[in-house]
């Protein structure tokens, strides 16, 4: 790698005090730079970097300004609950509980997490594929299918399972603040398989888990970041990545896993590309102008801000307040421990 990032000796990040930058609130991902029209992001994760790569205007709306649709995506909600339930299972097994006891703990967790206390009723996603019933079924079937899992969860030095691992590391790309840019993220799991360690990322999808499904993860922004993080942050040499896929259909759930490779030259190229995108982000923040990628408007079922970008620029501020709410996305936020 031509620009070798600085090695940060962090195997597991619970909390990291980043240096206070001039004009930057402690542990914020953004810096206010004199002469810049917009805040400049200093700490990046795959979500914010992916947003920038998708469309600068989309990145500005959702990350810089922090606008999100009033109704959270059912895919996001479903995925978060799925991940959390399996994490509960992993922790229970790590504490010495047997499969059935851990299975029950995961089930109890997801039933309670998807209970609407305000309305005193179950969560209603209004989606025929991703709803509470299919969520519970998918979790339970997955846990039973992998009760004897060929993927063995890595145990960290502190005795905890290597699940939901937060990481941060400093790149060697300088920012206008005088400090370098940072990369952050969260790994679902580290697991050993046939003598090697892999990063395992769980995905849920309505789609069938065909070879074509797995092929879309190369190239992939998130997985390249994970592969880079595993090299730099963790002292455990990682052999590759595994997509732990779950197909969620109306009446069934199915599971399949696929390998994702990231050869060294591919990672080097991704890192070089990162520098180019950081340069673009600086220009956008300096001018306050974030261009639209109107070839991305129809991706993934349609951009949430399509209705905003289709309006006259002078009226967009009013329209966005009607259909969206504020949620600050902070890559530096460490996910809670169980």
């Amino acid at each position: 790698m031509t620009n070798e990032p600085t090695l940060q000796n962090q195997q597991h990040v619970d909390a990291l005090d980043l240096p206070a930058w001039n004009g930057l609130p402690h542990n914020s991902s953004f810096a206010e730079i004199p002469g810049y029209a917009s805040p400049l992001q200093i700490a990046w994760d795959s979500t914010s970097l992916g947003a920038l790569k998708t469309c600068p205007a989309f990145y500005n709306y959702t990350v810089v300004q922090g606008w999100v649709p009033r109704h959270q995506s059912v895919h996001l909600i479903f995925g978060l609950h799925y991940h959390a339930a399996l994490e509960h299972y992993d922790h229970a097994k790590s504490r010495g509980e047997d499969h059935h006891s851990a299975h029950r703990a995961a089930l109890r967790y997801v039933l309670e997490a998807t209970w609407d206390r305000d309305l005193n009723r179950p969560w209603d996603s209004e989606d025929k594929y991703k709803n509470r019933e299919t969520l519970i079924r998918t979790i339970s079937w997955y846990l039973d299918q992998f009760s004897t899992d060929p993927l063995e969860t890595v145990q960290l030095a502190n005795g905890k399972p290597a699940v939901e691992l937060s990481f941060r590391f400093e790149t060697d790309y300088p920012s206008p603040t005088g400090h370098n840019y940072w990369l952050c993220g969260h790994l679902d799991k580290l697991a050993n398989f046939q003598g090697h360690t892999y990063i395992v990322d769980r995905k849920t999808s309505k789609a069938q888990l065909t070879p074509e499904y797995f092929s879309k993860y190369s190239p992939d922004n998130q997985f390249s970041l994970y592969a880079l993080a595993s090299k730099i942050v963790y002292e455990i040499p990682v052999h590759g990545l595994i997509v732990d896929g779950a197909q969620v259909a109306i009446t069934l759930s199915d599971f399949r896993r696929g390998f994702v490779e990231r050869p060294e030259p591919v990672l080097e190229e991704w890192y070089t590309d990162l520098g180019e995108y950081l340069f673009l982000a600086e220009r956008y923040a300096r001018t306050g102008y974030y261009p639209r990628n109107d070839k991305a408007c129809g991706n993934y079922g349609g951009c949430a801000f399509r209705s905003i970008c289709s309006k006259s620029p002078t009226s967009r501020d009013q329209w966005i307040k009607t259909g969206f709410i504020k949620r600050i996305w902070n890559p530096l936020a460490v996910r809670g421990d169980i």
Binding site: H103, R108, E112, R132, R137, D144, P150, T251
Partner: protein
């Protein structure tokens, strides 16, 4: 995949799954804080019965091709 017969399905079904007449939906529609561990076990057993019925239907060729997914994740090869 081993072909499952109706008789085999009966043996696959846990007695626990059939002991309580409440369906999964009825159990899951209650405030989860009121669910006991045995009731959670009921839910798990009924979900396993669902899976067993699906496997039987597949073995009998009754599952549509579009919903089939090649699954052999318990083996060493991924």
């Amino acid at each position: 995949m081993t072909t499952a017969t109706p008789t085999a399905l009966d043996s696959l079904l846990s007695p626990l799954a059939e002991a309580d007449p409440l369906s999964i939906d009825e159990l899951c529609s209650r405030d989860p804080k009121t669910l006991t561990d045995p009731e959670l076990d009921q839910i798990i057993a009924k979900l396993r019965a669902q899976r067993a019925r699906l496997d039987l239907a597949r073995a009998q060729g009754k599952v549509k091709a579009s919903t089939k997914a090649k699954v052999d994740l318990s083996s060493a090869e991924l």
